[in-house]
Amino acid sequence: MRTTKGILAYGTHVPYRRLDRAEIAAVMGTPSGRGYRSVASFDEDTTTMGVEAARRALGSTAALPPDALWFSTVAPAYLDKTNATAIHAALRLDASVSALDFGGAQRSAVGALRTALTTPGRTLVVSSDVRVSLPTGPEDGGGGDAAAAILTGSSTDGPLLAEYLGGATTTAEFTDRWRIPGSNHSHTWEDRFGEQAYSPLVRQAWADALVAAGLTVDDVSVAVVTGLHDRATRKTAAGLGVAVADDLAATIGNTGAAQPALLLADVLDSAKANDVVALVALADGCEVLLFRITAELRVGRPTRSVATQIDNRADVSYTRYLAWRGLLNVQPPNRPKPARPSSPAALRRSDWKHGFVGSIDRSTGITHLPPSRVGISGGTVDNMDPIPMANAVGTVVTFTVDHLAYSQSPPTVFAVVDFDGGGRMPIELTDVDPDAVLIGGRVEMTFRRLFTTDGLHNYFWKARPIRG
């Protein structure tokens, strides 16, 4: 029986910065690599990137909101505490919407997606990764940072962009890649072992999935093949007998836990109705998922494609990249570190802090950022409505570049932003080069990590230039 489950919406986030692999060679004296890796900014982590991807997914659909949020990463901002809750708060999901982390292993990301597609309900599956290894290690140049979000549900929840046709899984215990908790890099066994271990698992999952979906190889239009084991991924992809999608290795690198959903999204960005797309993920076994594109995809795509985000980029130097990831210890600014945010204050103001919700005065129509109980210009007390501003766009009124303020990556670029339709906010700019800021520049909001003190991450919003 054909399933009616599938993809209701999707969205992605590729960070603005790129590391030119040739720069690694220039600094470290190693053989020169080609192409680029994407680099999460100093104020991004897997949670903030997950927020951005999830916003784009939910912003592109009229489908009902999710009743569960599943977040998967191998680079969590916190342990013990759930990270999905910050995404939940930034998306302003109802308290009745469950938020869970699927952590630990690469496999959790694609596993969460398959589980969402095979269980009832609308689930927003978010995956995100910041790939780090020691300088000159495999992820240093070959890894990439990104996030992707897929809203799963059934055709009764809204128009499906792609129907889930079925899939299969294989599992085996073998140690070709491992990392002790707390370490900043993985170890790998010699290359050829992994290839041997993966080959039969992929073959079996591929065959089982085609049977489960009632398809033959000839029915498959394109396969997205992902995995951290480069050699096994390449070799098994070539053996599937179908066209294989671009793995974006040249432009952003291997984005780890985010890679299955990100590459799938990249294919969805240009797939045609009735195409059959296979997702094949090599991770401690193999997961295969098969989708058929519907006519709804053409009108249901997010406004910002993966390709658009790949094109909108600026380079970061290798040394600055290393400093951002904590792999190069640089002298911090000689200023007191900001105090950690107060947890009770953050909870009281979660709508503002995480959701960027201001208030609008019913009597004067003036938008107040942050929200205020008493209005300016003669407003009365407690006569305000909440006004969500995270999707507002605005214009730079004036700006400055602060070389003295505490920052993880000085200087701080700061602007006064007036939002279209009302509201003003003096706010930090990010993803911007200080020399390129102009009065009149157009900006949008982005969820970022302002700083970390006492192991406590301080999340809030910044503005960034609108691109693409």
């Binding site: 000689n334 900001p338 004036t398 701080t412 700061f414 809030f460």
Partner: protein, 398 residues
């Protein structure tokens, strides 16, 4: 809203000010003891004559005890005052009202700050627990927002405007070089300031107030008894304070080319003092030049320049020692240094010296031949979110 003022009801009859320095060898207590002694000597009184104290410090200590204990005051009321960088003037304002009310005969306002024990350059705010969404920008950066906005509004080339504000620093360093108490006593040319690396916006370190330790104090009595203590008391003509509602950071009408709280206190003070043309009626003004763009915009907000003309008045030297309205004749925050809680009282100290003809000959002004009143402007906070004080003082009863 009523603002009656206490014109000619109260007078300053003694003042003292320590040198403003990086006082590695002096504690806050030392500085307070010294300023207190200088002020009482100036008024010809002793400690037991003083009925009450208002003690201003931004964040060097807390409570009246931190003054009563080092001075060993004998069962005297001491109120600790804090209102950002306007703290010193605010302490003086409270002391004046207390005397005007008749509650006390002799009150002392004293302000002090020990900033150089902190270990970091610049001023660093005491951390108050928040939701983490408040700005962490430096004050220099907040005030630097005004330059591009001013250039845009009045169609002035940004490089030219940058030179204009450097001329303000040059003037204040020139004046400070003629002041033994000032922190920085070296003249510097605007051209050299313009060549320096920026620290915030286009502002260099030389566009920022000096950061110093120091203390200053004033003795206040009723106007009718003032001449019992000195032949030349300074009579209060106006005292005005506004604590802004922060609307400039919310309301898009605010364009960062003006400081509305300062304009409001100026208007209130001029009404209290009966001043209609400050530019020709004031002998001098001490204003809050925390950063050079602040002084530029203040010239317009205080009514010394037409709107949009402050920059050309600066270039014409109208606010220089020999100009037609000298401003910051002691070097200002820029050159004298800025021990936060003391600064407002330090500004009054210069007015005290100048109006009484006691300023050193090197920085004498000629406007005193025909004018006998001076303005003190002291602010705290940032453009769009600010506390402002304006006081006007005169040597004659009206």
């Amino acid at each position: 809203m009523a603002s009656h003022g206490i014109r000619d009801q109260v007078a300053i009859v003694g003042m003292g000010c320590t040198p403003f320095r990086e006082h590695w060898d002096l504690s806050l207590d030392d500085l307070l003891i010294d300023a207190h002694g200088l002020a009482l000597d100036s008024a010809g009184i002793i400690k037991s004559d003083v009925d009450a104290y208002w003690y201003g410090t931004s964040q060097s200590s807390a409570s009246g005890i931190s003054l009563a204990s080092p001075l060993r005051l004998d069962n005297r009321p001491v109120t600790r005052v804090e209102n950002y960088c306007a703290t010193g003037s605010e302490a003086l304002r409270q002391a004046c009202y207390a005397v005007a009310s008749g509650a006390y005969d002799i009150a002392v306002a004293i302000g002090g700050e020990k900033v150089k024990d902190g270990g970091y350059q610049g001023l660093n705010a005491f951390p108050i627990p928040t939701d983490g969404t408040n700005r962490t920008l430096t004050a220099a950066a907040m005030f630097s927002l005004m330059l591009p906005a001013y250039a845009e509004r009045f169609g002035i080339d940004e490089d030219r405007l940058r030179y204009v504000v450097a001329k303000i620093a040059e003037k204040n360093h020139y004046n400070g070089a003629r002041n033994d108490l000032a922190q920085f006593r070296r003249e510097i040319a605007a051209e050299d300031i313009c060549k320096m690396a920026p620290v915030a916006g286009c502002l260099s370190v030389f566009d920022c107030a000096g950061v110093a330790d120091g203390a200053a104090a004033a003795v206040v009595v009723s106007a009718e008894k003032a001449t019992d203590y000195t032949d030349a008391p300074l009579y209060v003509k106006a005292l005005s304070v506004v604590a802004g509602d922060g609307s400039g950071l919310i309301e898009p009408d605010f364009d960062f080319t003006t400081l509305p709280e300062c304009a409001a206190t100026a208007a209130d003070a001029y009404a209290q003092a009966g001043i209609t043309d400050p530019r020709t009626e004031l002998a001098l003004a001490e204003v809050h030049d925390c950063f050079t763009p602040t002084e530029l915009v203040l010239m317009e907000d205080l009514g010394f320049s037409e709107r949009g003309q402050g920059w050309s008045d600066v270039l014409e030297g109208r606010f220089a020692l020999d100009g037609d309205l000298p401003v910051n004749t002691d070097g200002g925050l820029k050159s004298f240094g800025h021990p936060v809680g003391a600064s407002g009282l330090r500004m009054h100290y210069e007015v005290w010296l100048q109006l009484r003809g006691e300023a050193p000959v090197e920085r004498r002004i000629t406007t005193l031949d025909t004018r006998s009143r001076a303005l003190v402007h002291n602010l705290g906070g940032y453009p769009g979110e600010m506390v402002s004080f304006v006081g006007i003082w005169g040597t004659d009863l009206d």
